[in-house]
Amino acid sequence: MAQAETLFDASELTVSMGPQHPSTHGVLQVKLKLDGERVLDAECVIGYLHRGVEKLGEVQTYGQFVPTLDRMDYIAAVSNCLGYCETIEKLLGVTAPPRAQYIRLIMTELNRITSHLLWLGTHAIDLGAITTFLYCFREREEILKIFENYCGARLTTHMFRIGGTQYELYEGFQDQVRKFIQDFPKKVDEYETLLTENRIWLDRTKDVGIISGKDAIDMGLTGPSLRGSGVQWDLRKAKPYCIYSEFDFDIPVGEVGDTYDRYLVRMEEMRQSARIVSQAIDKIPDGPIMAKMSKIIKPPVGDIYHSIESPKGELGYYIVSDGSTAAYRARVRPPSYVNLQSLKKMVVGHMVADVVAVIGTLDIVLGEIDR
């Protein structure tokens, strides 16, 4: 019997992945349209974690808003904090003292390492390599201990204040960091022996989710995902903030722009972060850790856009001030939100299992996407 013509292809199937799927790294739902195992279309449903951070920024004073921002990208809370504090300082015309700048730089780079370690561990576990996860969390714990000793918190750290930092370094900080940084490059080699030439890893990541440099820029991809496509762009070099211009480091780039390239870029970035910290740790100057600030922060009327290189990409803040103690508009440009948009382009034509690989390689944090 001849098949009647229908509007829909009978072999097409719509599958909803998430919002409770372990490999979506949070409450992300992806509606997949499938032909057998092949992905025809993918639509992301987000917003499950929406807490209205931008609205809170209009109600809370400039100082009160800082800990709220830690809850966005909770994996890299230090970066969120640094970006916001620098934005307000720029608006006020204040510069943090050198000692505070060094503390900020060291903490932010250590935080970049923890963020990449968490990414590596979960990305590997998604693709079936469990051992890497255990190794990554071993090193991540070391850094979190440093954070805990410094400010009492492990994830939502609230380390910096507008104008400097709150806490003086604790005794033995330098030795602890130095010891960690000395061993760390060897640990990265260790992860690489598990994955880089692993046959299964290569099969799962090579040529999966390819995006060209031109497309990546058009899609607004930033961070390691952009550099994996061969675009050598890092805000730490392009628009140096904090004191990054004083240090030597390389920007690793990929060639093809597939999942494997993005993996290599992040691995190298961890080494480079360690390199920056090792240069900075011996040079921390003495002096105050807080600039002279008035008790009440009232920036001049105007607007400002300032962005930093968070572990995920370009983290921007657009602040409109009306001269009062709270922002008139506090906009966050979240890297994960913009990066997730390219998921569709990356997965179409691949298998369902590759969707897991691509979600992992984008390194998204839902807390930041939904805000």
């Binding site: 209205g52 609205k55 058009d218 675009v231």
Partner: protein, 178 residues
């Protein structure tokens, strides 16, 4: 800057610098053309749209749409701003930069700014049937769509403020206040 001024002399409002950042104000009518020009001309090749957002100015009954552009070859940011009245639509720039797709959906979701020729203009962070636009200044921070919460979550949230049938198009819409 001069090239833009020359080409779109009728659309140009002003250009100024604040804390070392460049700002251009233009009229909204030809925004897509202006953006295409910004992307393609050799003097300001802004091939990357860093951010697009809005600011609500209820006194003037206006939204300010802010585009933050970046040029990879010049290594420079520039903010392009335009103002629209609350009930007006604005041309989408999703055809100029793909990034704008989700960014504009978020602006629509939070402010209710309607874009013309957008490929898929619907809510992104909030549920589809949510009433109200949270980042408008007349939306109290404790405001909530109580009806939605009751219907979908089966709970009474106990919020004092709520959006009933009043929608932003309603000229008699009164803001709930303390």
């Amino acid at each position: 800057m001069d090239a833009l001024k020359e080409k779109f002399s009728t659309q140009f409002v002003k250009a100024y610098s604040f804390i070392g950042q460049n700002n251009i104000e233009v009229k909204k009518a030809l925004i897509a053309e202006i953006m295409t020009f910004m992307r393609d001309n050799p003097i300001t090749p802004c091939n990357y749209l860093a951010d697009e957002t809005a600011v609500h100015w209820p006194k003037d009954e206006e939204f300010e749409i802010v585009y933050i552009l970046y040029s990879f070859s010049k290594n420079e940011y520039v903010k392009v701003k335009t103002r629209i009245k609350e009930w007006e639509t604005i041309e989408s720039v999703a055809s100029v930069w793909t990034t704008a797709d989700w960014l504009e959906r978020e602006v629509y979701d939070m402010f209710g700014v309607r874009y013309a020729n957008h490929p898929n203009l619907k809510r992104i962070l909030l549920p589809e049937d949510w009433v109200g636009f949270p980042l408008r200044k007349d939306y109290n921070v404790r405001l909530q769509d109580v009806e939605w919460v009751r219907k979908h979550l089966g709970i009474d949230s106990g919020q004092k403020y709520y959006v009933g049938e009043a929608r932003h198009e309603d000229p008699n819409y009164i803001t709930p206040t303390d």
